[in-house]
Every structure is written in structure tokens, then in C-alpha cells.
Symmetry: C2
Subunit: 263 residues, 2 copies
């Protein structure tokens, strides 16, 4: 298989590429509209077909690249089924494996950051791998103070779905704001300041309720835009409109092809 951990700087989002080498099919987990062109370049350089984009949840800090990638590549948009998005092509849910070529991801219903959040579990043959979305971050977790957030639900999700896995399990989060790339379940059990060392539900809820975080700067357009699978709504402010206005795929791909020829 082929794996890439890709980064979008403005929202510090990790997009994950997982590809089946036998069939050349791949999925992008949580692509960002700002980095669609970069994603296409990676796909082209690796000679892969984008079969699916797959969301962990309804993001409030960025617009998904799902719709633009579908327009350009014919990929299908997969989201948690309980989001009931008309714009999506398929819904995923716990108990139904999500397959891309020979690869199989297990959706895990992990509410708390949002009420329909899903993480994705994978086994690479050496250790279990978790794409934790915004549920569990490195020495942190997703905020629970807007949209459908619920700290008690997040605590239960992390304990029942993640902390029950082996310590060696790799934790690939949807964000990191300090340049870290991954963690493990054992490490988060030990070191996560909000959840580690057997911290109680009550202590966790108290921490989350007292964070006083700033209002997400993109929420007002990101959430409605993501409810339309990444269609840019009219209220995207000028400084964020750039990625909404790119329509030059043929040029982009031509440029990518040239890069490929030179490589």
C-alpha cells in the first residue's frame, strides 16, 4: 500500500492518503479545499486514481476539498451516514467496513467534538492505526464548545473506542499545531494532559468547560459550505475566497504532468 500524511498550513489540517497498490485506487481522508491542487499533484505523481474522499466530521475550521476533487477526478464523496448529506455519494457507519481496493477501514462512531464524528481504524499488519479526526489529538483533543460538541460524549468515545486498543496503536490526528505528526494510544494514555493518567470524566468535563477558546474564524462559512460537501457559500470573506475561485484544473494537471516528466 501507499501512505502519505499531507498538511494544510492555514488550518493545520492533516489529510491522509491511503492507496491500494494492486488496483491503484485511493482515498483521501479529510482533504482541504485550499490544497486540492497539491493533492492532485500527489495523485498524479503516484499514478493513483482517487476513488473516494472520506470525512471524519463536519469541519468548522476549513472547507473540505471533497466537492472540488469530485468535480476534477470523478471521486465519490463519503461522509458519516448520520450526517444525511444530499451532496454525498455514500454514507459510512460503524460496523460496515469501508473498502478501497484491498484496503479496509473500520468506521468508529466517536461523538463529542461533533455529534456525528467518526474515526477510522486500520491494520497495517504491524500495528493498529487510528485516524482519530478531531476526537483525539496529540496531547490534546478536539474542542467541544460549539456545533454539537459534548465533553462527556467525547470522554466516552475516546475511552471506549480508542483507549481499549493496544498501546502500540498509531494515532494519526486531523490536526497538530506544533509540527508533531503522530502519537500512540500508550503515549496518550500516559501523557495527554486532559485524558491521560486515568483522569476522570468529571475532571475532563471541567477542563473542557473552562477553556474559553476564541470563536472559530472560518465557522460561519465553513459549516454551511461543508454541509454542501465543500461548495463555497456566498459569505466566504475576501481573504479566504482564493481556493473557491480556482477552476483551472486542466492547466494544473498539465503542470503536474510536466513535473512528472521532469522527475
Amino acid at each position: 500500500m501507499i501512505f502519505r500524511q499531507l498538511f494544510e498550513q492555514d488550518s493545520s489540517t492533516y489529510t491522509y492518503l491511503l492507496a491500494c497498490e494492486r488496483t491503484g485506487e485511493c482515498v483521501l481522508i479529510d482533504p482541504v479545499i485550499d490544497t486540492v491542487e497539491r493533492d492532485l499533484q500527489v495523485l498524479q505523481a503516484l499514478g493513483l486514481t482517487l476513488t473516494y474522499t472520506l470525512e471524519t466530521h463536519m469541519h468548522a475550521d476549513h472547507l473540505t476539498g471533497a466537492r472540488k476533487l469530485r468535480e476534477y477526478t470523478g471521486s465519490r464523496i463519503a461522509v458519516p451516514a448520520m450526517d444525511r448529506l444530499d451532496c454525498a455519494d455514500i454514507g459510512v457507519e460503524e460496523g460496515r467496513p469501508f473498502r478501497v481496493g484491498d484496503l479496509e477501514l473500520q468506521p468508529l462512531f466517536t461523538p463529542g467534538h461533533t455529534s456525528t464524528h467518526h474515526a477510522y481504524r486500520f491494520n497495517n499488519g504491524m500495528q493498529p492505526v487510528l485516524f482519530t479526526g478531531d476526537a483525539l489529538l496529540i496531547e490534546a483533543c478536539g474542542r467541544t464548545d460549539f456545533q454539537s460538541g459534548d465533553p462527556a460524549a467525547l470522554y466516552h468515545s475516546i475511552h471506549s473506542r480508542f483507549f481499549s486498543l493496544p498501546d502500540e496503536t498509531l494515532v494519526y490526528p486531523a490536526h497538530d499545531y506544533e509540527g508533531r505528526q503522530l502519537s500512540t494510544i500508550g503515549q496518550e494514555k500516559n501523557r495527554n494532559p486532559r485524558l491521560g493518567n486515568g483522569r476522570s470524566l468529571e475532571a475532563f468535563v471541567a477542563i473542557m468547560d473552562s477553556m474559553n477558546l476564541p470563536y472559530p474564524r472560518k465557522l460561519d462559512f465553513a459549516v454551511p459550505g461543508n454541509m454542501a460537501c465543500g461548495q463555497c457559500p456566498d459569505n466566504v470573506p475576501e481573504q479566504y475566497r482564493g481556493p473557491c475561485e480556482i477552476t483551472a484544473l486542466p492547466q494544473a494537471l498539465q503542470r503536474v504532468a510536466k513535473v512528472g516528466d521532469q522527475g
Copy 2:
């Protein structure tokens, strides 16, 4: 395959278990004499045969468990060939894959912490994996101020052997003193305070030469003991003699078997 990351508290050493599921054979990388009984329990619980112990280098902070494990299980002792240890069964060197069942490790000659240090590269199918020994640690590196240490050699080893690998490469170090379990090449390139952000050879050497670290408390008996593959020399102080005096394998295994029955 089966993978475990095991920890020895007194020297903060990680011992790695890699097993081929098809044959039931396994290797322990850098076992510690203090945790030989724990290692045997893990092997027994997993139903594995210890084929090899494998050292990254001549440790100064702990005695290897290699000799005791060989006595108890019949495992073979593998060390860097250039160590020329009469007590070892085989020597490993860069360019010759080290095989355990269907698994294949690539030895990488990475001097600097010691002059004969080797790391081991593996591919799990999802990403490259490095067992970096004491060459590269998480946001740190092995010291270079005793034995055959050489900061310039370490800088070249890390750059030529590790930083040339993909950012997704997993970094499993031989030690961590803060409860972290792993890192990646991309993360160390970004965040390692001694080596990251393109730090120069001169800057690295200056950092390493000004560390003024305390004399390793076990060096005087660990190095001669490890030159005999983990035979306890006479000068092991009273407080560290415990692991040297364990000879009760049958009892230990009996106990393990009981634990297994109860599990």
C-alpha cells in the same frame, strides 16, 4: 506479524519485539537484563520462539539481556559484526539483510553515539520503520562524549541514513525519558532541537560538546558486561546485582504458564 514496544524503567530503554506470525519466530532488539523475566512472559503469552536477540550497539547505561535469554531459550545473539564479540553467535552488517521468519531488517551503519552503532530499517507495508537505537531519539539524540562517541560522525549518520527517508518513516528509539513512544523522520526534521530545521554540522557539534552530562552510573560494569554479551562482571554494585542473580527460569516459566492459564 506481531509487534510489541516494551519498556525497562531503570534505564528508560525500549526493547522491541518483532515476530513472524507464520513461523512463530521472533527477535528482541536491545533486551535488558533487568526485564528478562518480563520478556519471557511476553514470549510465552504470545506463543513465540525467540530466534535472536539483536543489539544496536554496546550499551553503557544497562546490561543487555542477550546472554540470559540465550541460556533460557536457546536464542542466538546477534550484534554488529564490527564489534567482533567472541560471545556472539552472528555479526550483522549493512548490506546484508537480517531475517527472522518472513521478516527482513536492513542494518544501517550509523556511528557517532558509538563507533560501531547500527540502526535497523524495516518496511511494514504502510511506511518505513526505523529502530534508531541511540543514534536518533525523540527531540534528542544519543550522547557522544564517552566510549567511541563522535558528534560529527553522528550528524553524518543521521543525515545520510535517516533524514534521506520519507517523512512518514516511523522512528522507534532505544530510549525515551518522557513517556513518548515514537516519532517520524518528518517530525524530527522539523522539531529536533539539535538536528532539525537544517541545523549545521558546526552548530550540532557545538551543542553536543557543551552538554556537560553526568558520568553514566552503570558504565563501569555495563560496558565490560556487554562486551561479554550480558555476563555480569564482578564489579556490579550491590543495588544493581538483582538481575544478575536470577537463575530461576523453571519457576518463572511455571508462573508464566499459570498466568497464561488464568488469562
